[in-house]
C-alpha cells in the first residue's frame, strides 16, 4: 500500500526538523554569547586603555612637576651650578614629555585639564624662569621675583596633575562599574535567549510528539482498514465458493433429471425443453466455475500449480485440443508453431486461457474460415496468438472486452452459450503468470488475441537465445 509509506515517513521528517531546529537554536545561542563576550571585552579594554592610563599619567605628571619644583628650589637656595642646571633641564624635559604623553592619549574626558593649556603654563614658566637663572648673580632681586612667579606656575601645574589623577581614578571606577553593568546585561540577554530557546524547543518537541502520535494512530487505523478489507475480500471469496458449492448439487440434480428424461424417451414433445434444461444448467455450472476462479484471483489466491514444461510438446497438445474445439464450431484450423525452449507455467491454466481465445475466435468466424494458432519468441517472451477472420471488434469496444460479463454483440451471446466471463478469465490467468494479454482488431478483417509469457531464461536453447538477442538488437 502506497499510503502506508507516506504516513510512515513523515513523522520522522518532523522529528528531524524539530531536532535540527533545536541544534540550530543552540548554535545561535552560542553565537549570541560570543558576541556579548566580545562586547564586554571591548568595554573592559576601553576602560583599561583610557581611564586607567589617565590615572597613571596623572601620577607621573605630578611626579614630574614635583621634580621640577625640587630642582627649582635647589637652584634657588644653592645657586646655579652646572650639575643643578642639568638636573633642572632634565626634569623640565621630562615634564614636557609627560604633557606630550597626555596629549597622545587623546579622547580627553570632560573636566580634564587640557594638555595644550598645561604646555602653555609650562612654556611660560620656563620662558620666564630660565633666563632669570642666568641673571642669578647679576640681579638677585629679579631672580627671586621670577622664582616666586615660577613656583606659582608650578603649583598651578601640580594642582592640574592632581586633578588629572583624581579624575583618572573616578573614571576608572565608573568604567569598572560600566564593565559590571555590561557583564550583567550580557548575562541577562543570554539567559533570555536560552529561556526562549527552551520554550521553542519544548514546543517543537511537543508538536513532534503530537504529530508522531497522530500519524501512528492513522497508520494503525490504515493497517486495521487494510486488514478489514483483506478479510472482507476473503469473506467474499469464501462466500462465492460456498454459493457455487451449494448450487452445484441442485444443478447436478436438475441436469441429471433432464438427461434421464431424455434417456427415457427420445423424439417426444418434451425433448426440446429437456435439451434446453441440460444446456442451460451446463452453462450455469461452467459459470459457477468461472466465478469461483475470478473470486479466488481477486483475493490473490488463484491456485496455480506451476511446473517447467518444454514449449514444443505443450503447444502441440494445446493445438490438438484447440483444433477439436474450433472444428466443432464449424471453422477450420491452422497452426504455426515454431517455438522451442522451456517455460514455467501451470499448463492446465494456460491451456484453459488459450482455449478460451480459440473458442471465442471460432465462435465469431464465418463457417469454413480458419482460426490460426501461432507462436513466436520475442524479447525473451513466448507469444501465443490466436487470430480469426471474423467480423472484428469496433475500436471503441476494445478496452472493455476483458471486463466481466461485457458483450460486444448483446443479442448474439445467448445463441453461443458463453458465460460472458471467458476473456476476463483468460486475462486473469495470464496475469497470474506475470504475463500480458492484448488484442488487435479491425472491423471487417478479423481479430488477433496475443498472450505473452516470460520464458525460463536459463533453459532457453542456444539458437533461441541468439534469435532473441537479434530481436533485441533490432529494437
Amino acid at each position: 500500500m502506497n499510503i502506508r509509506a507516506g504516513v510512515y515517513t513523515r513523522p520522522w521528517w518532523i522529528a528531524i526538523a524539530a531536532i535540527g531546529g533545536l541544534l540550530l537554536g543552540i548554535v545561535a545561542a552560542g553565537v549570541v554569547g560570543l558576541v556579548l563576550n566580545q562586547q564586554v571585552k571591548q568595554v573592559t579594554d576601553k576602560a583599561l586603555q583610557y581611564d586607567v592610563a589617565l590615572e597613571d599619567l596623572g601620577d607621573d605628571l605630578r611626579a614630574a612637576v614635583l621634580d621640577v619644583r625640587h630642582y627649582h628650589r635647589d637652584i634657588f637656595f644653592a645657586g646655579p651650578s652646572e650639575g643643578r642646571l642639568e638636573d633642572f633641564e632634565r626634569a623640565y624635559a621630562l615634564l614636557r614629555e609627560e604633557i606630550d604623553r597626555l596629549d597622545q592619549l587623546g579622547g580627553q574626558a570632560a573636566g580634564v585639564p587640557q594638555p595644550s593649556r598645561l604646555r602653555e603654563i609650562a612654556d611660560s614658566y620656563y620662558a620666564a624662569f630660565r633666563p632669570a637663572i642666568d641673571r642669578y648673580d647679576d640681579d638677585p632681586a629679579g631672580f627671586a621675583q621670577a622664582s616666586d612667579r615660577g613656583l606659582a606656575k608650578v603649583a598651578e601645574l601640580e594642582s592640574a596633575a592632581q586633578e588629572i589623577d583624581r579624575l583618572g581614578e573616578e573614571l576608572a571606577a565608573s568604567s569598572l562599574e560600566s564593565v559590571d553593568r555590561a557583564t550583567t546585561t550580557a548575562g541577562l540577554v543570554l539567559v533570555a535567549v536560552i529561556a526562549g530557546l527552551v520554550v521553542v524547543g519544548a514546543t517543537l518537541a511537543y508538536a513532534a510528539v503530537r504529530v508522531v502520535g497522530e500519524l501512528s494512530r492513522l497508520y494503525a487505523d490504515q493497517q486495521a482498514a487494510a486488514a478489514t478489507l483483506a478479510h472482507a475480500s476473503q469473506a467474499k471469496t469464501d462466500f462465492i465458493a460456498d454459493v457455487s458449492h451449494e448450487l452445484r448439487t441442485p444443478l447436478t440434480v436438475l441436469r441429471g433429471n433432464a438427461e434421464v428424461g431424455l434417456e427415457l424417451e427420445r423424439n417426444c414433445v418434451h425433448e426440446r425443453m429437456l435439451d434446453q434444461i441440460v444446456k442451460e444448467s451446463t452453462r450455469m455450472t461452467r459459470m459457477l466455475d468461472d466465478l469461483l476462479l475470478l473470486a479466488r484471483s481477486d483475493s490473490a489466491s488463484l491456485p496455480l500449480e506451476p511446473e517447467t514444461v518444454a514449449v514444443a510438446p505443450f503447444l502441440e497438445g494445446l493445438a490438438a485440443r484447440a483444433e477439436i474445439l474450433v472444428r466443432e464450431r464449424g471453422a477450420s484450423f491452422r497452426a504455426a508453431l515454431t517455438v522451442e525452449g522451456q517455460i514455467r507455467i501451470d499448463p492446465a491454466r494456460i491451456e484453459q486461457a488459450v482455449l478460451i481465445l480459440a473458442d471465442n475466435a471460432a465462435k465469431y468466424s464465418p463457417r469454413g474460415e480458419s482460426v490460426t494458432l501461432s507462436s513466436v519468441v520475442r524479447g525473451g517472451r513466448l507469444w501465443i496468438e490466436v487470430s480469426d477472420r471474423g467480423p472484428g471488434i469496433p475500436e471503441a469496444e476494445l478496452p472493455r472486452i476483458f471486463e466481466r460479463f461485457y458483450r460486444v454483440d448483446k443479442t448474439r451471446t445467448w445463441k453461443q452459450g458463453g458465460t460472458g466471463l471467458g476473456l476476463s478469465i483468460a486475462k486473469t490467468i495470464v496475469e497470474a503468470h506475470e504475463g500480458h494479454i492484448e488484442v488487435v482488431s479491425r472491423v471487417g478483417e478479423g481479430t488477433r488475441m496475443s498472450l505473452q509469457l516470460p520464458l525460463s531464461a536459463e533453459a532457453e536453447p542456444v539458437g533461441q537465445l541468439f534469435a532473441t538477442t537479434m530481436e533485441g538488437v533490432r529494437r
Binding site: 452445484r248 448439487t249 447436478t252 440434480v253 441436469r255 441429471g256 433429471n257 438427461e259 434417456e263
Partner: protein
C-alpha cells in the same frame, strides 16, 4: 431382467434419487444407503456388482468404509463420488482400491459409461 445390482451410498437424497432414477432407466437394480453405517450393513449383507460411494458421509466416511471392506477381502468394484474441490480424495480413494471416481457435478452420460465399464 436386471443389468446388475448397484449399491448407492450417498447422504444427499437429491443425488441419491437422481442416481437411482438414472440407473433404473438402464434396468439396473439399485439399493440406496443414506450414511456410512447403513452402507456398511447393506454392503456386508447384499450381493452387489458395484458400489457408488460418496467420500463425505456422516458416521463412517467412504474412504474408511472401502478400506475396511478391502481388508475383509471384499473385492466389489467401487466408484467414488468426490467433490470437485477435494482433489486429494481421488488419490486417497484410488489408494484404498477404488476402480474409478466421479466428481460431482457429473454428467449422466459420463456416469453411465463409467458404470457400464465396471458392470459385467
Amino acid at each position: 431382467m436386471s443389468a446388475g445390482r448397484v449399491l448407492v451410498v450417498e447422504d444427499d437424497p437429491r443425488i441419491a434419487s437422481l442416481l437411482r432414477l438414472g440407473l433404473e432407466v438402464k434396468s439396473i437394480e439399485v439399493t440406496v444407503a443414506e450414511d456410512g453405517s447403513c452402507g456398511r450393513e447393506a454392503w456386508v449383507n447384499g450381493e452387489f456388482d458395484l458400489v457408488l460411494l460418496d467420500v463425505m458421509l456422516p458416521g463412517i466416511d467412504g474412504i474408511s468404509l472401502c478400506a475396511e471392506r478391502r481388508a475383509a477381502g471384499d473385492q466389489t468394484p467401487v466408484i467414488f463420488l468426490t467433490a470437485r474441490e477435494d482433489e486429494d480424495a481421488r488419490a486417497r480413494g484410488m489408494a484404498v482400491g477404488a476402480s474409478d471416481f466421479m466428481t460431482k457435478p457429473f454428467e449422466y452420460a459420463d456416469l453411465m459409461s463409467r458404470v457400464m465399464l465396471v458392470l459385467p
